[in-house]
Symmetry: C2
Subunit: 424 residues, 2 copies
Amino acid sequence: MTAAAAVAQVARAAKDAQPRLARLHREAKDAVLLAMAEALVDRADEIVAANARDLEAADAAGIAAGLRDRLALDVERVGSIAQQLRDAAALPDPVGEVMRGSVLSNGLELRQVRVPMGVIGMVYESRPNVTVDAAGLALKSGNAVVLRGGSAALHSNSALIAVLRSVLAAHDLPEDLIAGIDEHGREGVDALMRARGLVDVLIPRGGAGLIRRVVENSLVPVIETGTGTTHVLVDADADLDQAEAIVVNSKTQRVGVCNALETLLVHRDIAERALPRLAAPLAAAGVRLHADDAARAILAAAGTGAEVVPATEEDWDLEYLALELAVKVVEDLDEALEHIRAHSSGHTESILTRDLRSQQRFLSEVDSAVVMANASTRFSDGGEFGFGAEIGISTQKLHARGPMGLTELTSAKWLVVGQGQVRP
Amino acid sequence: MTAAAAVAQVARAAKDAQPRLARLHREAKDAVLLAMAEALVDRADEIVAANARDLEAADAAGIAAGLRDRLALDVERVGSIAQQLRDAAALPDPVGEVMRGSVLSNGLELRQVRVPMGVIGMVYESRPNVTVDAAGLALKSGNAVVLRGGSAALHSNSALIAVLRSVLAAHDLPEDLIAGIDEHGREGVDALMRARGLVDVLIPRGGAGLIRRVVENSLVPVIETGTGTTHVLVDADADLDQAEAIVVNSKTQRVGVCNALETLLVHRDIAERALPRLAAPLAAAGVRLHADDAARAILAAAGTGAEVVPATEEDWDLEYLALELAVKVVEDLDEALEHIRAHSSGHTESILTRDLRSQQRFLSEVDSAVVMANASTRFSDGGEFGFGAEIGISTQKLHARGPMGLTELTSAKWLVVGQGQVRP
């Protein structure tokens, strides 16, 4: 069988199995999630052994240290992965929520209720924890899931999925509700992208290249996630103590994530005071500044000790995911808004100001998924928002925008109950 | 300039213009809509003259009578089109609605607010009223719109769009908020489908071929609308007086629409009584029945006078949009649910029953945008649901499902207001 046919068969089996899950109430779904957590802990040795095979292959291929760390599992990490499932069990069930409802003038009773999406396809890179997290959130929201987690994690993902499926079977549920297609490589992803009618939504998580490939080639509706060319604007009358704390936190609290600061804009009226204040702690944290001419002149005069290189046009569009920061002095709020409009990926931007009108304009006019005032961009996160779980951060406007929790894995249907009404 | 470059330029101009509209409050938007209605009435002669040129070309090409009627405008019809804009003005403004909100434990104030989608692309067939309706609903919801209404309506749409744009200009708004690309033909549609990053959502409205083409080829996110292989199930203990009224209404109240009945399922326990009752008024309305063997045997024995032909496998998947009806006798509710699962386009289905358990199972297990009990399928409509306007009926699960009103033309963004918070 070709990879395409095999993946289509997996997706069809998931679609056929999903109605069984859709009819389960929360209590039953939570019991399965808790049993899965227990099974993962019980069978941690088996999972770690499978992971060792992946690590061996990765080491032979000369994997980078950061990627190796994301891939590696030990008993403790398997325990954390199991905990994700217990956390999912503790979340409220979005399915069945009545979103809108009314009685029409002709007596028809109208309700819009939340229902599972159906079959969710996830394409991500080699982090085995995402396998379990995605499967758990899909199950909780009544969805079947087809997982494609990267060939480097093939054995780890197989072992994890085998444990989850054995728990489904033990609860008299179809194993096809959770399926992995890692063994079909890139052809598997291609087949998943063509499975329109079988897969209801495809969510890519990972690097910009992966996401672009899925967005440009999928016939299945996609939720675009991730890339964050995140801006902070230090406005003319920002509180500089707050600004220092927020800029440093936004840039350095965690570097390789989509809500980390990538471009700092500084109002010219405060630039001479602000830039040296900000540069010193950034330099101490090892951040290199890619600064425009105006910022470089100020930094050079102040002698902050920060490493400063001239910004190029490309810097304004980069998501460094590293200890690098683009810095630009802007004439006024209008120039800042214009720069963000031209260069933001629409993920997260924050203004630091004490001026009410500046804050209002920024919140209203910046067209990004998350727009902040006087807070670190690192708060742009489903966990921080109180969702309890996050399946990714959407940067598109259709269906979901910003951090996605369980609610964003659901669709809706309209129920109309009549007593014999016909249309005149 | 190529068609592709020209359409990209139009889309970019729309994108650049849209923030001006996004900042308008309801009062200002409604004033523009009312002025547009007035201008259409004032310039009706000009519009009718342009329409005459389209009709002349259509007659020369031998257009079918039904399509000609959809295309034709007179002063009265222009008046109805103007009324659509007044109706849009009367609707509440979805923009700015606070959808969710809370104060997090660290004091961050979190709000999810409705915002315009940005630029909406509409691809539809030659009905000039859709041009104005789509432009009006887009404007009301703060969106720019790029309209592609079919080459047969080229002159009519140009004249209508010219009137709308002149009103925008008179209100000191960018004309680029409403743009037509009819003159670029099929290449224009191709270019619109590739305008990812400029156009935020593409909504095709029209025949199955058009919709499939857009769904399969667009890089811009699409909302799939339309096709309805709509089912009614007459359950074992349906009220036959109600069933007769509802089945006839669902099939014949208006024939060429997506919420019209296409397949009638009849429970075997009631088939001998129900089928002759239903067939007589359907026959009187000119409906031809495509019946399975069991239904044909009953109808032949009863001698209803209805024209009955044997159903083929294809009949179960057809959207006739005509005085044709597929009829099947099912063993039980399970077989009905299974048939719907296999053959429905997920638009609208209705059960006719007095049995509570049957109704509950049908509402819960049928996975369609609108699921009804004891009501005509013709109620599956944004106007009937009280939306005041309808941009189409979505048959996909992402973003919007079922009738789409102004709300479905919006996205959301998260606003986060802090007092200096950083992430620990």
